[in-house]
């Protein structure tokens, strides 16, 4: 805005306010304003028409949207409208300009975000010309209210509710003892092969749980798998060595393996010193395990659980001593190394599925099933959406656009 027109505008506003205050106009029409226009030079443009003030929905009651139809002299007629200006009257004050900068022509709406909740405001729109003459629209009013529920998010809300119900239902379904099917997991089927080979060769099996603590989901999953492996090694009387990185994990593992040997009917075969604490530091642990691999040349190496950067050091050494390696982790960054250097790898969720499959724990099985329903819904949404898009119907896409923004 040029300084000159700004001065002029200031002058107009000053007079406008003056007149309003003087007249104490509570209900006035735009007629009164015409008087001020005559003070300034130039012919006033046609006023904006059809002005509407509406409370913005789904907000905290601090927005009112004002819309109008452009002045007849905006782009047409005298074509002298250069901008619009909005004046507001609140219960406490009289009409005052609320637009900090003039609204450019072509725009026909404005959101006032300075209102207070549960109050009624009146608005009018001014058309402004280059020389600063103005003309006012009719006055309209609205009350700013706050919403308790965001209706634009109703689909998101319903989806959250629906998915929660599905998960809870699946868990209860699993708890009621119904059999829940889980697909074949190739890595698990190789367990027997690995143990068999170790027995034939008379070598040990090395089970590495990684660096996780007992609260890690992957470490818990790994312990479930270990307990099954222990059951088989008990049958075959193969040595099972478990170097641990966390003393608490070691204690839990000792208990679990002991129970497995007991239930397998070979309590005497259990060797407590085979499950031992190495060190809690990352690379020293890797070096320690490397040493064990090189010395003992185990026939099979299990790498299941939470792994970080040491994954490739372990997998490489295991590979170099010619062991069958079965790996699994939910740490995505380490998966490439396992896949490249190991014979079988449980990828991410497969590790959880394997653990649920082996432990038959209803909570794990049920959640897995519930998530599968979720995947099915996503699958269906994508397929239906694509088909509809290709024939030119786009409501699925629009729907996802709306719910995700």
């Amino acid at each position: 805005m040029k300084p000159k027109s700004a001065c002029l505008l200031g002058l107009i506003l000053f007079f406008t306010c003056k007149i309003i205050t003087l007249a104490q106009l509570s209900e006035f029409s735009s007629e009164e304003f015409r008087a001020t226009d005559e003070i300034t030079a130039g012919k006033p443009p046609a006023p904006p028409t059809n002005i509407k003030a509406t409370d913005k929905k789904n907000d905290d009651g601090t927005h009112i949207t004002i819309s109008w139809t452009k002045s007849a002299d905006d782009g047409n007629g005298a074509n002298n409208v250069t901008s619009y200006n909005i004046l507001r009257k609140s219960p406490e004050s009289n009409f005052e300009t609320i637009t900090k900068t003039l609204i450019k022509t072509g725009k026909t709406d404005y959101t006032d975000d300075t209102v207070k909740r549960d109050k009624t405001y009146s608005y009018l729109v001014q058309a402004v010309t280059a020389s600063g003459t103005t003309s006012n629209s009719e006055v309209t009013g609205a009350e700013a209210t706050a919403s308790w529920f965001h209706t634009g998010k109703k689909w998101l809300f319903l989806s959250v509710v629906l998915f929660s119900v599905v998960v809870i239902y699946s868990i209860y379904h699993a708890r009621s003892g119904k059999n829940i099917f889980i697909r074949r997991i190739p890595g698990l089927e190789a367990v027997d092969e690995a143990i068999g080979r170790a027995t034939e060769m008379g070598r040990s099996i090395l089970y590495i749980l990684g660096l996780g603590s007992v609260s890690n989901v992957a470490t818990i999953a790994s312990m479930n798998i270990l307990s099954q492996v222990a059951r088989r090694t008990a049958d075959y009387e193969t040595a099972l060595r478990v170097p641990c990185n966390d003393p608490i994990v070691m204690n839990v593992v000792r208990e679990m393996v002991k129970t497995a040997y007991l239930e397998g009917g070979h309590p005497d075969a259990y060797q407590e010193q085979d499950i031992f604490f190495l060190t809690e530091s990352q690379f020293a642990y890797a070096a320690g395990v490397d040493g064990i691999m090189l010395r003992e040349k185990p026939a099979a190496v299990f790498l299941q659980g939470t792994f970080f950067a040491e994954s490739l050091i372990l997998a490489e050494t295991g590979n170099s001593v010619g062991a069958i390696q079965i790996a699994g982790t939910d740490k995505e960054h380490q998966l490439p190394f396992f896949i490249a250097a190991c014979d079988y790898t449980l990828i991410g969720e497969e590790l959880y599925a394997a653990s649920a499959y082996l432990s038959r724990e209803p909570m794990l099985l049920g959640s897995l099933k519930g998530q599968d329903y979720g995947k099915l819904m996503i699958f269906a949404a994508i397929v239906v959406g694509v088909i509809l898009e290709l024939i030119g119907v786009n409501w699925v896409t629009t729907f996802f656009d709306k719910v995700s923004n």
């Binding site: 789904n58 907000d59 905290d60 009651g61 601090t62 909740r117 706050a146 919403s147 308790w148 529920f149 965001h150 998010k153 998101l156 809300f157 959250v160 998915f163 929660s164 998960v167 809870i168 868990i171 609260s215 818990i220 003393p247 060190t279 809690e280 690379f283 950067a309 490739l312 050091i313 997998a315 490489e316 590979n319 170099s320 995505e332 490439p336 190394f337 896949i339 490249a340 250097a341 014979d343 991410g348 969720e349 959880y352 909570m363 959640s367 519930g370 998530q371 979720g374 995947k375 996503i378």
Partner: protein, 214 residues
Amino acid sequence: MRRQVPLALCFVFGVVMVLIEFSPHPYSKFLYNEVINWSLIITPFALVLGVATLVQTHWIRIRRRAEYWQYSFVVFIGMIVMVTIGIPFGPSHKAFAWLFKYIQTPMDATMFSLLAFFIASASYRAFRARTLEATLLLVAALIVMIGNAPIGDLIWNKIMPFGENLPSTARQWILENPNLSSRRGVILGVSLGVISQSIRIILGIERSYLGGGD
């Protein structure tokens, strides 16, 4: 008291946070801000957990004269030096910044740079195209590796009359196409897992975070 109250608190806070998400009302916003503020106040105290575990482990090692117990003193010395300088003078103090810059930074950076060596040796000794899967992985890895290296484009443009900058273009194509779609599949699956776990935590079905005991 020991189990039921924490589970109830978890439920209340969880449900409130979910519901607030759908309510733009100023009262909800107020509540939301308060809860966020509360959790911001609580979080820094969690520091106690990590420090206590570390001190305990090394203390036990020293007491039991476990293997390499002498090194546990080094841990304590490092910790004490940082704390005695940092706490009274603050982290922007010169001495503290010096310790960070010349002791912590080089060690942290070097520790992870060891992996450059290991990745090279593993590439040679362990990464074999033994199955179809491993083959695909290796081929994609090799393309990305050469596409990442500026020398890849340079050599290609010198010796090949066609396909300017093909290595980096191929790399970009792999990342933007097959990589993108498989990652998206993983994201969708993992996100469902996160949501289902959150539901279980709020409802008290999943309680492993409470730890053992009654």
